[in-house]
């Protein structure tokens, strides 16, 4: 992107946010900080208030109480009566549907932000094309947004957001509008953009896998509050609640825990069956286990895994080289196995199998 911005000290600054806001059914109450060059992924279901956080940071929405700081600069301080308008905060915002200006060509969309700084139409176009080139869409410079595919729009939107050298990047479901084939490539591209970015980035997604791929850290949001924050692997391994476990994609079962032999905890599952875990807990608990930790065996087999549940295959969905198997037992669960072992087992709806997994792969959270 050419010469370094003279304000690079500010570019390298962290983003800090605290906000309280009434939001229909619940209150948004959130505090977070993102270091420069880092990406915090806000994950959670639709309606959790994730996009609202981005709007507060960008200055598009004023919270009832709160403050937003980017490095030395205070963007918002409701106590002190400071509220910088969005145009002075200069956040690079990629909107969920990209919000490209329909009456402007791709290069004009990209040139829209830096229009003040760059003199002359030819120079503006040259710079916009250089950015489009970086995203591999320079040949579309003259196209209108309505003629672009989802993936192309996403790239133009990214180029447009980066063009004015923003002080923070805000990405609202940047991959949600893409079809699954485009998404894998777009995710890789976006990850490399984020690695190069020197500014703090907030990314909003409802997809935990996406958050895990793109975020240096992941913060899970529900009903306007941060539920848990950490590295994606830690969230998946030690979810603080069934909600987080469910979001991370784990199978969630409910039961009642009691101490068992060998220092293990035994959980009597609601609806029948018992399993063991290395975690300690007593009373009602939520059990979480990842589908890829669950292996399937023909009935009557005797594997080494501690936990064994007789279940019936309900659905078989191919996911590339892997197969996700929906299972009906005392409680529904799901396993992910290789396509080869699915064939070997002759998996089909209605078939009875045994789902097995290790006590060490079984997480317990008190519920």
């Amino acid at each position: 992107m050419g010469a370094r911005d003279p304000l690079s000290e500010e570019e390298g600054a962290a983003l800090e946010l605290g906000a309280e806001l009434r939001l229909g059914a619940f209150d948004l109450e959130i505090e977070l900080a993102v270091p420069a060059g880092c990406c915090l992924a806000l994950a959670g279901p639709s309606g959790a208030g994730k996009s609202t956080v981005l709007r507060v940071v960008a200055g598009l929405l004023r919270p009832d109480r709160g403050n937003v700081r980017c490095g030395e600069a205070t963007w918002l301080d409701t106590e002190a009566g400071i509220d910088l308008p969005p145009e002075l905060r200069r956040c690079g915002y990629v909107f969920q549907d990209y919000a490209l200006f329909p009456h402007l060509r791709a290069w004009q969309n990209v040139a829209y932000g830096p229009r003040r700084e760059v003199r002359g139409r030819a120079e503006r176009r040259r710079r916009a094309e250089a950015l489009l080139e970086r995203f591999g869409v320079a040949h579309l410079a003259d196209a209108y947004p309505r003629t672009l595919s989802g993936g192309e729009r996403q790239r133009v939107a990214l180029a447009r957001a980066l063009a004015p050298r923003p002080r923070a990047l805000l990405l609202d479901e940047p991959l949600a509008a893409l079809d699954s084939r485009t998404r894998a490539a777009a995710t890789r591209e976006l990850a490399s953009v984020l690695r190069e970015a020197e500014v703090p980035t907030l990314l909003v997604t409802h997809d935990f896998a996406e958050a895990a791929t793109l975020g240096d850290t992941v913060a899970v949001m529900a009903e306007g509050k941060l539920v848990q924050r950490g590295r994606a692997a830690d969230l998946a391994a030690r979810p603080v609640s069934a909600f987080v476990a469910d979001l991370t994609g784990a199978v969630v079962l409910s039961g009642v825990a009691r101490p068992g032999a060998e220092g293990l905890t035994l959980v009597d599952l609601d609806g029948g069956g018992a399993i063991a875990s290395v975690d300690h807990a007593t009373g009602p608990v939520t059990v979480s286990v990842f589908p890829w930790e669950i292996a399937l065996e023909p009935p009557g087999g005797s594997g080494s895994a501690r936990n064994r549940l007789a279940v019936e295959v309900a659905s078989v969905t191919e996911l590339g080289s892997r197969v996700r198997v929906g299972l009906e037992g005392p409680q529904p669960l799901a396993a992910e196995v290789t396509a080869a072992s699915a064939r070997a087992l002759g998996l089909a709806p209605g078939r009875t199998v045994v789902a097995t997994w290790k006590a060490a792969a079984t997480r317990l959270t008190s519920s």
């Binding site: 598009l60 145009e87 905060r89 956040c91 402007l104 003040r116 309505r146 063009a163």
Partner: protein
């Protein structure tokens, strides 16, 4: 052979009937005007004066309507405030006022004995029997056409485009000019065409408020009315010219509306 479809037949007949009824009078103007008469009437200084006054006054009125009406429509479309729907209703009220009532209302407000008459007189502003009065009457009757269309057009613009513009460093004013107006352009142009058409045809409010002074306040429709009493053929000729101008206006707006914003088509 296809079966009889009565509804299709009814629809077709209705369309044919509407077309005939709506075009027959217009065609009749041209049928009743020998081409020579048309040309001759254009040489008549009074008719020419009336036409040129009509064009000047409507253009001046349009300028006022756009400069004040577009931001006003933007405010109505984007801000929520108490009494907003009441404001919208009041702004649209002139749409349904009979033109004669509009003229009387203007007199009552801005005439020499009107509410603001003394104040205007002190300021040295004269409207009655002045071209300025014609423009005031045109703005009064035509502005609501533009404002309500513009408001609808602005309301239909995707808010995230405006948000995107702001985060890209544009002030609200630049966002209005660079994103809002171009995105709403087809709607703005059709509102402009409606307002212009209404202003060109204005008769009653102008007559009552500004009078029918040849060369000063006598617009083309007023001239036609005066000619109608003395010289029907001349009235027909001037009418034919107005029809041609109005048709050209309608056509050009439709063409411009299609060309002006290629990115907006078929979205």
């Amino acid at each position: 052979m296809s079966a009889v479809r009565p509804f299709r037949a009814i629809v077709t007949v209705a369309l044919a009937f509407a077309l005939c009824f709506l075009t027959l009078p217009v065609v009749a103007i041209f049928a009743g005007t020998p081409p020579g008469e048309l040309v001759a009437s254009l040489g008549d200084p009074a008719a020419l004066d009336a036409l040129s006054l009509s064009l000047q006054a409507t253009l001046a009125a349009l300028a006022v309507i756009v400069v004040v009406g577009a931001p006003a429509a933007y405010a109505l479309a984007t801000r929520s405030f108490r009494g907003r729907s009441a404001v919208i209703t009041l702004v649209e009220l002139p749409l349904v006022l009979p033109p004669a009532v509009a003229g009387i209302a203007l007199l009552a407000a801005l005439g020499p004995q009107g509410l603001l008459g003394g104040w205007l007189e002190d300021a040295g502003v004269r409207l009655v029997f002045e071209t300025a009065g014609v423009i005031v009457a045109l703005v009064f009757v035509a502005a609501p056409f533009f404002i309500s269309q513009a408001q609808a057009a602005f309301s239909a613009v995707d808010r995230t485009w405006l948000d995107a513009s702001r985060t890209l460093g544009a002030t609200e004013a630049r966002t209005f000019l660079s994103v809002m107006v171009p995105s709403a352009l087809p709607g703005l142009l059709s509102g402009l065409a409606l307002a212009w058409g209404r202003a060109l045809g204005e008769f009653g409010a102008t007559l009552i408020f500004a009078g029918s002074l040849s060369g000063v306040t006598q617009t083309a429709p007023l001239a036609i009315y005066e000619l109608f009493a003395t010289d029907l053929n001349a009235a027909l000729a001037l009418s034919a010219v107005l029809v041609a101008i109005s048709a050209a206006l309608l056509l050009s707006v439709k063409l411009v509306g299609g060309r002006v914003a290629p990115g907006l088509l078929a979205r």
